[in-house]
């Protein structure tokens, strides 16, 4: 850990990086589950990028097979009430689900880091205002706040992204604030200041990069929760509108058929959702072991 807190001079970069890589391999071999998680992650990224070109049927095409048919050789995950191929829909949905959660997490990471960095570095009223703002967001049950935001701002996919970004903001802002404030008077920061760097340059050029490892863990753990959140919103009919393939809405559509026994409409998209969340949570745990072995719980 100490190697990462000191600014790496160009000469040090080489050996530092290899030792980090070795550490990664060591952690991955010690915990095979993390290795599995990275494999699943590659699968999800592959499905998101190439899914639409690989699937056997058009996900929107009704009547590619008889309606409500159980899984078979022709339709691996069966067909839904309009005769669409569930397998194709589950695979194609990956892109939309990932797009929503990645953009939401990216927005909250960028905004949250900036707010947290300013709050932690300058303190004073910046800190108080940011703190109050974050406390106010956290005063709501987060999913309910997201519902309220989408309901008020309009029922679109963009608003789902913004709502998910807003409810995740406090986690990033608080973490960035804590990480910055413990380093704001560290030796390397004072050295950077003395050599004539401006405050902003010190903050974003010298302190912020050092907060990235714990932030990466946060991002990974947060991704899973962002996916769940977005899928939950579309499950209750917000954001994504049918017939677009999306896991949450597919589960919602299938829910009407579960009491008559057509399980495949719910189980497959639900499993895909679960697997995605599980993957990001496992990666997050693995990364945490890598970055901060002491906080392993």
């Amino acid at each position: 850990m100490t190697g990462m807190n000191t600014p790496a001079s160009p000469k040090l970069q080489g050996p530092l990086r290899t030792s980090y890589w070795q550490h990664l391999c060591h952690v991955a071999s010690e915990n095979p589950v993390t290795g599995l998680a990275f494999g699943l992650f590659a699968l999800i990224v592959g499905m998101a990028l190439f899914g639409p070109y690989l699937v056997p049927f058009d996900p929107l095409d009704t009547g590619v097979g008889p309606a409500l048919q159980a899984p078979s050789g022709a339709h691996w995950f069966g067909t839904d009430h309009l005769g669409r191929d569930v397998f194709s829909r589950v695979v194609v949905a990956t892109r939309l689900d990932m797009l929503i959660s990645v953009s939401a997490v990216a927005i909250s990471f960028v905004l949250g880091s900036i707010m947290g960095c300013f709050a932690g570095y300058f303190g004073g009223w910046t800190d108080r205002i940011t703190g109050r703002l974050m406390d106010t967001i956290m005063a709501f049950p987060l999913f309910v706040l997201a519902m309220g935001i989408v309901a008020a701002a309009g029922n679109t996919v963009e608003n789902i992204v913004y709502a998910t970004a807003i409810i995740n903001l406090p986690f990033y802002a608080r973490m960035a604030r804590a990480e910055v404030s413990i380093r704001r008077n560290a030796g390397f920061v004072q050295a950077a200041r003395l050599s004539g760097n401006s405050e902003l340059r010190v903050l974003f050029g010298h302190i912020f990069p050092n907060t990235l490892p714990p932030m990466m863990v946060q991002i990974s753990l947060n991704m899973g929760w962002a996916i769940l959140n977005a899928a939950g919103l579309s499950f209750i009919g917000l954001g994504v509108q049918p017939p677009a393939p999306e896991w949450g809405i597919m589960v919602a559509e299938g829910a009407n058929f579960i009491i008559s026994g057509e399980w495949w409409l719910v189980i497959f998209p639900g499993m895909a959702l679960m697997l995605a969340v599980f993957t990001f949570n496992l990666i997050g745990d693995g990364l945490r072991d890598l970055v901060d072995p002491q906080r392993r719980t």
Binding site: I259, F278, L282
Partner: protein, 343 residues
Amino acid sequence: MPPMLDKLRKVAFRLLQAVPTVFGILVVCFLLTRALPGDPAAYFAGPMADAESIEEVRKTLGLDKPLLVQFITYVGDLAQGDLGMAVSTGQPVISELASRLPASLELTLGALVLSFMIAVPLGVLAATRPNTWVDHICRFLVTAGVSLPTFFTGLALMYVFYYLLGWAPAPMGRLDMMYLPPESVTGFLTIDAIIAGEWEILGAALAQLALPLITLALFTLAPIARMTRAAMLQTLGSDFVRTARAAGLSGHRVLITCAFRNALLPVVTTLGMVFSFVLGANVLVEKVFAWPGIGSFAVEALVVSDYAAVQGFVLSMALLFVALNLLIDVIYTLIDPRVGEEV
């Protein structure tokens, strides 16, 4: 100062601290009502309104006044319990919410109690036997638990226990149509049934409650078990536990009186986050099981764009969340043996 008085002073101080939080909630809810897509006045005037009647609606709603005045009016209305009318049902939002709140509370609180009863012993077991199969199972359950979307777990349970096994009744609300609900005292069907002494109804209500309860409990199990395990590991490694062991206290006694009681405190403080999750997940579970609580009311209102109802729901959920957190903090202050001792 006597310890009890000191505790009361701390409780009062904690209650005061909730005031800015509630103010923040009011501001956000107010802003959400103003953020209606397009012009709120045009929305409330209806699709057939011309410019003149829109202007009239704007005047009657007070939307032409400055924001600050509007905010004061908004808070004033809230103080009188006026949350507006629910367009979908034609009833005041506040009475709609009040009549549905017991159903939601019964589900949420029941799930919290259930998951607490399972998660705490699980966490303690995992902490006392680190790196054994108990620990691994606990770890797996914890990671799987937070990864499961509640609506998916609910549907899967429904499929297995209703469709395949036929153990659970049809997922249609709080009580089977065959039974008349008992006389309403608390609004909680199970408790009302006990008060009325109607055991058959109690059984029917519990049968309806079982699946949604388990679904929610599975979801909240994970964070509680995780925290219990971490807190227990920390207290088990602490000096006072070592001292107690060295003094020759029995292993059981060390575990319960020394370690467990101290580990409970951090667990109680993390309950805030669990509440946030459970109140959100509650909405999804209510939708899945057609549970007539405030969550499914809000979902129905969302579908027909009944904004007053949704905003009333968001506000009441936030206030409920604040109240639950306050309750936990007050309990924490009262049970913490350290508070008041150092004076």
